[in-house]
């Protein structure tokens, strides 16, 4: 079987697919030497065939296997060569991701809505260009009320058909009246939105955001208000040690009225909500105004104040956002500076959920 050795050697030395193919034809093709040997088997005696048959078949197997192995190895080498040629420099930059952002006011409004949804509060809205009846009179602030002057109101020269002065709402409270008139009682709503006061410095801008809360039912009292505010602030700041201090105050639309302070401590010069404000190093910071709805307001909302009572509260969304996420300049909120938005904004997928936590940790 000298031929076999030669063939195997030739296969091992073959470097192209064509060479392998011609070796295959030379050995296994119709005219190939293996095929020729196979043909000789028919002429042999049974005893001779018993000896020569396995040998010839073994030669055929050996050639086939060598051909396949050599072919595979050549293909692998070719692939390696191609891949080496296709190499790219992956330290070069890829296309940058497009990273948009959600404004902190929107994010915090979503957080608040999520928390209050769990407490059964629906979201209500109303116009920002209001008439003075909804913004003042219906809220128990007649024309000469000293509190009206304190509101620093923006007025339009226009009047509506009923002769009411048109103005920019100074608070979200007119939504109370509109919702009572439209939906009756009982009610549990929050009303977030833009409000306007003629005021401008580092902590006041002529436009800002408030969120109003309103609960009207038959037996709602100050204790419920206290619980609601505690529960909401604990959920918002995601801290159990939130301590509130209620102070008697005055708003024309509530009676009794309270202002609500939250205890904080100074950490690295920043106010961090939590703990008793009277503790050493602590302080109190006003965050909410609230109270039991004045009977005159219930009546202005078309409800019977002998049957319905409830509470209302209002707080600044921007201020809550600043407090929670440690932002210190309100004016930057409305500047549209992409550097600021990129820094303080939130990712599209930072959707507040109760299960995942409403807040986004730094």
């Amino acid at each position: 079987m000298e031929q076999l050795d030669q063939t195997l050697a030739a296969i091992a030395a073959a470097t192209t697919p064509d060479a392998i193919e011609s070796l295959r034809v030379a050995a296994l093709g119709k005219q190939g030497w293996v095929s020729a040997l196979l043909k000789t088997l028919g002429a042999m005696s049974a005893d001779e065939r018993l000896v020569a048959g396995p040998r010839i078949h073994a030669a055929r197997e050996a050639v086939s296997a060598a051909l396949a192995a050599r072919k595979a190895s050549l293909e692998a080498a070719a692939l390696d060569a191609r891949l080496a040629a296709e190499r790219v420099d992956l330290t070069l930059p890829a296309a940058p991701p497009l990273r948009g952002s959600i404004h902190p006011v929107s994010q915090v409004q979503d957080e608040l809505v999520e928390i209050f949804a769990d407490l059964g509060f629906a979201v209500a809205t109303g116009p920002e260009i209001e008439d003075d009846w909804h913004n003042f009179t219906a809220l128990n602030m007649p024309e000469t009320h000293p509190a009206r002057a304190m509101h620093d109101t923006f007025y339009f020269p226009d009047r509506d058909k009923a002769g009411r002065s048109m103005l920019l709402r100074t608070h979200t409270s007119p939504v109370q009246i509109r919702t009572m008139l439209a939906q009756g009682a009982p009610l549990r709503i929050i009303a977030p939105g833009r409000v306007y006061r003629s005021d401008s410095d580092a902590t006041h801008t002529p436009m800002f955001h408030q969120i109003e809360g309103l609960v009207i039912d038959r037996a709602i009292h100050l204790g419920h208000l206290k619980w609601t505010l505690e529960t909401f602030l604990k959920a918002f700041f995601e801290r159990d040690d939130v301590v509130l201090r209620l102070r008697p105050s005055y708003f024309p639309f509530t009676e009794p009225s309270v202002e609500v302070d939250v205890g904080y401590s100074l950490i690295a010069g920043k106010r961090v909500v939590g703990g008793d404000g009277d503790a050493p190093g602590g302080g109190w910071m006003e965050v909410l105004g609230a109270g039991i709805i004045n009977r005159a307001v219930i009546a202005a909302g078309g409800l019977d104040p002998d049957e319905w009572q409830g509470f209302a509260f209002g707080t600044g969304v921007d201020r809550l956002a600043m407090l929670k996420y440690a932002m210190d300049d309100l004016r930057a909120f409305f500047d549209g500076d992409v550097r600021w938005l990129d820094h303080y904004g939130f990712a599209a997928l930072d959707v507040p959920t109760l299960s995942g936590g409403v807040g986004v940790r730094a």
Binding site: L92, G100, L246, R247, P248, D337
Partner: protein, 799 residues
Amino acid sequence: MKFAGKWLRQYLDTDADTATLARALTALGLEIEGVHDSAAALGAFRVARVLSAARHPQADKLQVLSVDAGGDAPLQVVCGAPNAREGLIGVLGLPGAVVPANGMTLGKSAIRGVESHGMLCSARELGLGEAHDGIIELPADAPVGTSYADYLGADPVFDVAITPNRADCMGVYGIARDLAAAGLGTLRPLKAAPVAGTFACPVEIRTDDPAGCPAFYGRVIRGVRNGPSPAWLADALISAGQRPISALVDATNYVMLGYGRPAHAYDLARLTGAVVARKARAGECVRALNGRDYTLDPTMTVIADDAGVHDIAGIMGGDHSGCSDATTDVLLEVAYFDPDTIARTGTALGLTSDARARFERGVDPGFLGSGLDILTALILALCGGEASEVVRAGTPPLAQRLVAYDPALAARLGGIAVPQDEQRRILTALGFGVSGEGLWRVAVPGWRPDIAGPPDLVEEVIRVHGLDRVPSTPLPRAAGVARPTATAAQVLERRLRRAAAARGHHEAVTWSFLPQAAADHFADPDHAPWALANPISEDLKVMRPSLLPGLLLAARRNRDRGAAGLRLFEIGRRYLRGENGASAEAPSLALVLAGERAARDWASGKARAFDAFDAKAEALALLGEAGAPVDSLLVMGEAGAQFHPGQSATLRLGPKTVLARFGMLHPVTLRAFDLDGPVAAVELFLDRLPVRKGSGAFARPAYAPPALQAVTRDFAFVVALDRAAGDVVRAVRGADKANIVAVRVFDDFRGAGIPAGHRSLALEVTLQPQGSSYDEAALKAIADRIIAAAAKVGASLRG
């Protein structure tokens, strides 16, 4: 409202210290805005006597003193003051004391090897003046060992915010009453003994305006000597933030600040004839005490004599008849003015004053006589003189106000069951008269004009009892998991906001108001935008008729800060005119794409600017997120004058309803907003989106993929350039609705082989076989229908 502790203690007998009083005031609703306690700053300094003085062994200018500061043993103190000597009584800061002037905390120290246990201080070091050429020297009888604060009588000043309802607390006496009710001491009775007149009042006093001035009490004091007030009065006024002027003026201010009772003193020599409260005459003028001239109108009440107006009633006195050092006879005015009239007059004149603040909140109509007595006694004591009889013109509104009060209301509204005895005690201490059992009859004192009904009494009871004692009570909760609360509009807004951010855009919140020019540029010419009458500045004046101008202003600011590419969006309201003079506020989304869409890059080459198709892609993507039927929207023109006429379009649902506009902005718009380079913009009118149809159920239609694979066929049509590609696509789509499921333009070619004024549009048509696969004949039939349909819009198959 500011006042010294000493003043408060004149009315309140209390052992409570400053901090306790401050806490109690805040808890009562009289919020402490600050306590300026100079005593606290000096509490650690002692009156001390120098027993002996010896030269410091190491330093010529220093002495080693032995000082008695009242302790068991003398202290050794090193001192460099030239006046330090044996026998001197000075002020010693002990270790731990903080030097007010520099905030340094004193400690035991060694000075040039000699231990020093304190520091003898100069006036400047204690913040008590500028003297620094030596240490303080006190008189020989100064009590050694006492706190220097006590020796000085330093007195904390309370700064209290008074809410608009508490007219009574605009006097220190009212504040003392509240504190007494809260158990912080005993209210001393008013000292208001009547002062009998010794002669008839020489001036006629009348009120001819019983509505504006129901009562005007007055009297003359003759033979007074005006001049500077004594120290106690000057100090009291200074503590209240007032500048002492003269004894007569200071006396009226003292009564106002002490009792909430404004009064006025006229120089009698400057008056002519009867002094009358009346309505002002149109155009009448007065120069007020602030030196400004005011023109009055007949809605305003004034005090006038035969010569003219001397007082804008209840707001500010006139300059002409004000008291001076030359004044010898004064006319005192204690009147009751209608709060509404005062408020309207003050607003109309733009004039605020301490008197106005009290009158417009409502002063006690029962305190005119006592107020005049107190003022008279004070002036007689300060300035001498002789008082006339009192003239009482008109009658103050003294009708007794009664509130029927069910004490159970405290629990019903306040959420805390305050025992009836405690409620009765609180109300009585505040000056209310309580009678009856079951339903109480509560008489409201004259100094509480704010009390109108039972809830007001609940507030009184709860605030004095303690708001902190109200237990938190959980709101009743509906069974089960909280229900969804958001409306469809809210869900839409949230979805769009996050979709836009996910597409790489930054959400901005910009002002609702714009400069006039910026608003006008985007306003509907038929409807003037809302413009403020009293804007805070010209830049924040006109309510935005579109969100784009605000974003363009922000784009300019960003460009000025060097931003290369900007993707800024906002979701908010645009302000339009509604029905019956009301506003119509329509939800919108606007997006501005300015500058580079992609920076220059090793792979893609040069930087690429945004173009109109970027705007179109965003418009369609966001409308898709909003649930609009994106595939059936019409792309039409008329995006508005603000846009490039050839590179902008509207997206419409039917020919009339414009859901969005998009495209490149007009160069004139860019110039108006000082922007250079092309800017693309998108505006979505969310109020015009169709209401989503559907059953509201969660179940989706069954999944039914076609059994046979779709096939595609390409067609190239030659069309005139003025024929929109969209027309050709729509025609082809409509050629065979049963089989054609999609048509896409994949080439737009102009040039060789195409006639001038024409282009070749290559379309890929996707065909979906239904029952059986297509044979050649079927495909030919469909192709024929496509070619025929295209021909109807002037498109011929490219040869």
